[in-house]
Amino acid sequence: MTLIPLSSMESVVDLSALVEAHSATLFRVAHSILRSPEEAKDVVQDVFVRVLKHRSKLSHVSDVRVWLIRIAWNLALDRKKRKKLEQFDPHFADTLVSKEVAADRAIDQAQRLRAVLQEIERLPNAERQVLLLSTVKELGTADLGRVLGRSEAAIRGLLHRGRTRLQNKLEGKL
């Protein structure tokens, strides 16, 4: 039986509290970028591994929640850089298709949803980031501003421009 030092026990307690409070939010943040539950789970684990390694800096962090979301965001972006657009999970769009419609309409809807996801990936970085982070329901505009280092007005402007650009592109494509 291995004895864990007292400082480690305190860290475990602190970490367990952090995991319980923020893991769901971090999972959604990572999933909004990666669209894969497995990879999003790996990102959440990596976030807390980093917290474990740098927990001495926790006392200097003013907003732990924003700090954790930034770590998850950066880790997810780093993972995404290794993947091509075609390597994203194609089944995510299929899971969103309504099961109550006819088969031919379901296929058409799935194609449209895949096109939306592809066009989101082609948006400018700032607009795409704001659009994806806005899907995390725990994050308001102020939170988005703190995570991305922008003002609330800038976040609202980016969100509007991104959505308009996405709609225009889809209309032109369709």
Binding site: S23, S32, K53, R112, T135
Partner: protein, 197 residues
């Protein structure tokens, strides 16, 4: 496709991303993963910043220590090389040996010195420098090979060569030598006393 349809599709995607369900065992898996990491790296998590501080190389500590180690190594090598580590063989004649140990002939010296030297050089626990000195001394005494004991004929010849008359050496016939000596004595007396007689 209408603009409304496109807007609905965008909302559908964003809502789908927003409503993604977190795995029910996410927290447990994360904690298990962290526990595994903490078991694997107990020192790192225990010491934290102190461990990071000590892991950095400090030039003002490393430089003097490495300089001192290099000095000690140099001195050790220099002292070990200054001694006669490798014996060199030089031809030594018996006269030089006699000069080193006056009053002792080469065979006697070999008989007296060599066994003792052999005994001293034999133990393996002799310090390297002393052993090298002993090896060199024994090598000097045994090269060239000492002369063998003289036979009886050689002793007789040596006795004649160093103590008898050279004419005697040449004239081995004892009777002829005595006759010649007798003739010479008579000639001597005749020359000096002949006029008086």
């Amino acid at each position: 496709m209408s603009r409304e349809q496109t807007r609905q599709d965008i909302d559908h995607i964003l809502a789908g991303l927003s409503s993604v369900e977190t795995p029910p065992d996410l927290e447990r898996e994360v904690m298990a993963h962290l526990a595994t990491i903490m078991r694997e790296e107990p020192l790192q998590e225990k010491t934290g910043p102190r461990a990071m501080r000590w892991s950095r190389p400090r030039w003002f500590v490393v430089l003097p220590v490495s300089s001192f180690a290099a000095l000690v190594l140099f001195l050790a090598l220099h002292l070990s090389r200054s001694g006669p580590a490798t014996p060199t063989f030089k031809p030594v004649d018996s006269t030089s040996v006699s000069k080193v140990l006056p009053g002792t002939s080469a065979p006697a010296l070999r008989e007296k010195v060599s066994p003792s030297l052999r005994i001293k050089a034999a133990p393996p626990k002799t310090p390297p420098r002393r052993q090298a000195r002993l090896t060199l001394a024994s090598a000097s005494l045994s090269y060239p090979a000492p002369p063998a004991p003289l036979t009886d004929e050689e002793k007789l010849l040596a006795h004649i060569a160093y103590k008898a008359d050279p004419v005697q050496v040449a004239a081995l016939d004892r009777l002829a030598i005595e006759a010649k000596e007798q003739t010479e004595r008579e000639d001597f007396h005749r020359f000096f006393n002949g006029g008086n007689e």
